[in-house]
Symmetry: C2
Subunit: 679 residues, 2 copies
């Protein structure tokens, strides 16, 4: 599944391979490829078309996309986007993640503990305002700080004026800055979710594969003033859903791509970063598997995290495999050499050539720094760190604070910090113990900071002390510390966060300086590309709203034709073909309803629209803005899309709209919900 990666690189991007072929691109809503729509598809969307689609689209801040699908606030997204909330709402007795959930009426709809949904209202170009703040003679650190201050002011002013969430987004490697303003929904309630067995049918084995048979969907509803919200913009439900060869549009929030990356940056990813991250992912995967062996309850607690890491592993493997392909790298290299030659020949562009060298230098620094940081990220440690930093930052004026501690960000931060989502101390302890052990491995166990952390104990015993001794499970205690500060606090996790904070801050500073050098260089590379290739292109993904498009279309694999569609009936065949294997058992609800299910109803389908992690839950619409599908994955061949788009085999994978409607009516006995869809 194409979950948004945990850490987003906020660089923007642009096709390095020259001309845009096929239906490539994650386009800005204020910069759609209208000429291409017209020339290739004879389609000319109106401003109202764009505005309606934009405002019908919803962003899940936990990392995913969604859409409004009824006037009374129904929000459609993936089961795997909702899974974080499903797990947080689940208990030992009621496992909504595994067993599904259906509210019979508004009263039964379950409030999510910490969801924030964003509806994009307006985009404004603020490039000049941001750039004015940075002077030529500034060091990277000064430039970054000055830009950050300018951005912070723009955001604060916009928030004050509109009451909307206001984020300045760096696009095209920092060559452009746009202000995104969102309406926020924080009262979000669960309406319906199917069983995980059908949402993620085929499990890790089928993940990123095609053909697929997954009902990876669930429904939430936004509330305002304790009542279902009236929303002006929502998508109609298509009668028949997506059809073969039909042009469809995907409106969602791709998390991050790296298509602007230079060869040096790609090699850093290939030879250093991805192998490093994959080692960490596999380590956590094994750790969570082992934790799950303790009992069925432990397995339940670990499951969501485990799926996340399995998914990340498969995604990163796909990326690394692409980068390890000599043919692909050769093509990238040739394209880069062509552009560099053009830049060096042109007296006006010559100045930009050094940007490529700067990027290369930064990669060397990054390779050296890899693994030297403080990595103790557990839910409770992160809470401790936030409280400790907040305590120090709040002593400064808002605009001088680290970005996330400024007044403008306080609401979102507190929603996370004071979330009542359950914490599992045993799991916290196991993860913390492993992270401390890993720090010893990476820094060498004799490292003085490591020895200070251990306080004479081995990592596992130390983690037991920390997890056993902290009171941070208690939300009221967090609120108390947020209010009174953490100075003198005796909580062991708070004290740990205080111990490492100077190093955390120093490393963050160094890292931000490197990012600033990269940002400046990519911004210059973008200018060079604008100059040589024109400005009508799209930037790298930034977890902001984009439009992708392309036809519904199958593909060839090992000489075999893979059709675009699967059917609901085929799901039963798929179960039979994998009998005896884990994750291939259909839930009882499907068995019970098998006579009522029309076997020919399309279930999943693929199209060529250019998507990436973060697009999960994106609505797929036709030209008439009817919902025809729900993005939930990309196939293996699409994973290299982080670096390069190809529609030869790369496909995005969706649940068909008819399958969702039919499942609600015939399997989940939810006519009352199905009746609301699109109305």
């Amino acid at each position: 599944m194409i979950k948004k990666p945990v850490s987003i690189l906020c660089f923007s991007l642009l096709s390095l391979l020259g001309s845009l072929q096929a239906d490539e691109g994650m386009w800005l809503f204020n910069g759609l490829p209208l000429e291409q729509f017209k020339s290739k598809y004879g389609f000319e969307p109106t401003a109202e078309w764009t505005d309606h689609l934009m405002k019908s689209s919803v962003r899940f801040n936990v990392g995913g996309s969604a859409s409004f699908v009824s006037s009374n606030g129904l929000v459609l997204t993936n089961h795997h986007v909702g899974s974080d909330t499903l797990n947080k709402l689940s208990t030992k007795e009621n496992n909504y993640y595994e067993d599904g959930f259906l509210a019979k009426n508004f009263d039964e709809e379950l409030k999510a503990p910490d969801l924030e949904l964003n509806q994009l209202i307006e985009i404004t170009d603020v490039t000049d305002q941001v750039n004015q703040s940075v002077k030529d003679n500034m060091s990277p650190g000064e430039a970054a700080a000055a830009r950050q201050t300018a951005i912070s002011k723009i955001e604060q002013t916009a928030t004050d004026q509109s009451g909307l969430r206001s984020d300045v987004v760096a696009l095209y490697g920092g060559a452009r800055y746009h202000l995104y303003q969102y309406k926020k929904y924080t009262d979000v309630r669960l309406v319906w979710a199917p069983e995980s067995a059908i949402a993620f049918f085929g499990g890790d084995a089928d993940n990123f594969e095609y053909p697929r048979y997954c009902l990876d969907a669930c429904l939430f509803r936004v509330y305002e003033d304790g009542k279902p919200a009236n929303v002006d913009h929502f998508l109609k439900w298509s009668d028949n859903g997506a059809k073969n060869d039909e042009l469809v549009f995907v409106s969602g929030n791709p998390g991050s791509t790296s298509r602007i990356y230079t060869m040096a940056a790609l090699k850093y990813e290939r030879d250093h970063y991805l192998p490093y991250v994959l080692d960490f992912i596999r380590r956590r995967e094994i750790l969570l598997q082992q934790f799950g062996l303790n009992s069925t309850e432990s397995a339940r607690i670990a499951r969501d995290g485990l799926f996340g890491f399995q998914n990340a592993r498969k995604a990163r493997m796909g990326m690394l495999q692409g980068l390890q392909d000599p043919a692909l790298m050769h093509a990238k290299q040739q394209a880069e050499q062509r552009i560099l030659a053009q830049v060096k020949e042109d007296p006006k562009l010559k100045q930009y050539a050094a940007a490529w060298d700067k990027i290369a230098e930064v990669q060397q620094q990054k390779a050296k720094r890899l693994g030297t940081g403080i990595s103790l990220n557990t839910r409770l440690f992160n809470i401790a760190q936030t409280l400790v930093q907040m305590s120090d930052e709040d002593k400064k004026p808002s605009e001088q604070r680290l970005a996330e501690y400024r007044d403008s960000a306080r609401d979102s931060m507190e929603q996370q910090l004071f979330s009542s989502a359950p914490v599992h101390p045993e799991l916290e302890q196991v993860i913390l113990g492993d992270l401390i052990a890993r720090m010893l491995e990476l820094r060498g166990a004799d490292d003085p900071l490591c020895q200070q952390i251990l306080e004479g104990n081995n990592p596992l015993d130390r983690a037991a002390q920390l997890a056993g001794g902290t009171q941070l499970m208690d939300v009221d205690y967090r609120k108390k510390l947020a209010k009174q500060g953490t100075d003198g606090c005796q909580d062991p996790l708070i004290q740990l966060a205080q111990l490492v904070d100077p190093v955390v801050r120093q490393q963050r500073k160094e890292s931000e300086e490197l990012q600033e050098i990269e940002r400046q260089a990519y911004s210059q590379i973008s200018e060079a590309l604008f100059a040589t290739q024109g400005t009508s292109t799209y930037p790298d993904a930034t977890f902001t709203l984009r439009l992708s498009y392309g036809p519904v279309k199958g593909y060839q694999e090992n000489g075999i034709e893979i059709p675009a569609f699967t059917t609901m009936g085929g799901t039963f065949d798929h179960e039979t073909a994998h009998q005896g294997q884990a994750d291939y058992d259909l839930p009882q609800s499907w068995r019970d309803a098998s006579a009522k299910i029309n076997p020919d109803t399309p279930f999943n389908f693929v199209c060529t629209a250019d998507i990436i992690g973060g697009n999960s839950g994106s609505p797929v619409v036709n030209k008439d803005l009817e919902l025809v599908g729900l993005i939930f994955d990309g196939n293996i061949q699409s994973l290299i899309g982080d670096y390069i788009y190809s529609d030869k085999q790369g496909r995005s994978v969706s649940v068909h709209s008819s399958a969702i409607r039919d499942a609600l009516r015939h399997i989940y006995n939810a006519d009352h919900i199905a009746d609301q869809l699109g109305n």
Copy 2:
């Protein structure tokens, strides 16, 4: 389970913490702690006692221990030692690993494709002969070569004279060399194995834990001239088996320990080697899991390898956790400083002080070299490499060849090389693809050798070409190449082995030079320890026969008393307690026989005997040399035993002899086998 680690460090060892406390030690059969036996236990074994136990003991060359338990050649070992053979004998139709096996008569006993069993006949001290070959003015490389040549001559002469397998073993870090002579058995047949579900009950979750409920046993039989062998030395079967507090003896082949390691060496293990190896283990574990998701048949094929890696991971984790304990390292450091001070003060010993520095220097070299090697170990690649190297080595006189290609080793080598054990090309391909990808990660994908290996393809496609194009699955083809040499051979795997062989040889040379420096240094440290602490001690494990001892005894964990014994009846309770979890389902045979099983029959038990990987399958005997148990594991707390022995909580875990006998009679309807035990 305490499998022998894949690569054995052949250093020998000695307690670094000064006096031998408790019942520590893996003692040489020609250097038993007779005084300790007498003073502590009033036990004085005769020479016949020792000789009978030695000759009743059997070594499995795949990595494990065993014993003769009948006059007609029955050999008792662990199911997990036999598992390699069980898998090789299994097919899609007959899964002996999973479903178990029972031969109703001699004719049904199944010949193992490539087992070699060794029975130790004689030990001779050859230290002077070996040391004479090394002159003071030799470089490390010259010294290693000279010593190797001397060893090779001793071995060849011994083989020629006795017809026995003859191995010179370096003990006490190379301070002593002993010649071990073995009778070899190569016609080994499977007699009985239980289902894996009870042999490995509780699976990865229970592995290295206690209490346990595992029938980790199986029976083979050695044949000579096509008939069951008559063996003079075999163990009687005890009527009642091991009793609480009873002194017991373990005779087996511990694979490798590192108790002589200096602080610098331990820190290299802690900060470099173990983290590196664990990353690799976790990577392979995930790879094999993923392969197993393809189908139930894929899962079967991957299972043995997967268990091996899971087991190795848990064992290495235990070792690393021990080394990351500040208290333990502090104790080790103090002991080292004490000895060093003693050495430096003594004019005669002063010369040895530099040995500690030498070890420290070598660790730095080793840390730099980590991950730079050629690591393409798959079954078929290893065959290719052996054939390529054999082809070159056979052009030289025997004594100038790499050790494993000399005439004296040819039989053992050919048994492996020409084994008819099934090869699974799909699994070979997946592992090879991952190993090539990993080489790209470790060396950087632009590395010229990596690019030569790829031949323009990505790692997975290249692996498909190699695995798809090779003929090495065919044993006759291997025999042909072994005979005619590999020059000009067009097989793609042979060509790959030829491509990398110069680098493989260069790195082996460098690595052997470092080992030689270490060997000389540890030999000096051993001399220093002999001088300060006396010679009546035991060397580090070397996968040669050792005797351990200690009482049957429970222990305390988190304030709870863990009794020494579990019972067969308790197995059913253990199943109930873990209902719904993988690997906790008893086989049908146990359910069917539940009424016939005496619930009070002891099933597993622990004792304090000092064991390590390689001891799996060791017989546990009482003073009267009756078999009372079968070693199959150590608990988590024993894993640090690689570096230091402690009987506070560390325990070896055995199957009780009565459980094996009762299971044969009442569960497996194998009275005809049970009747032979001990007779």
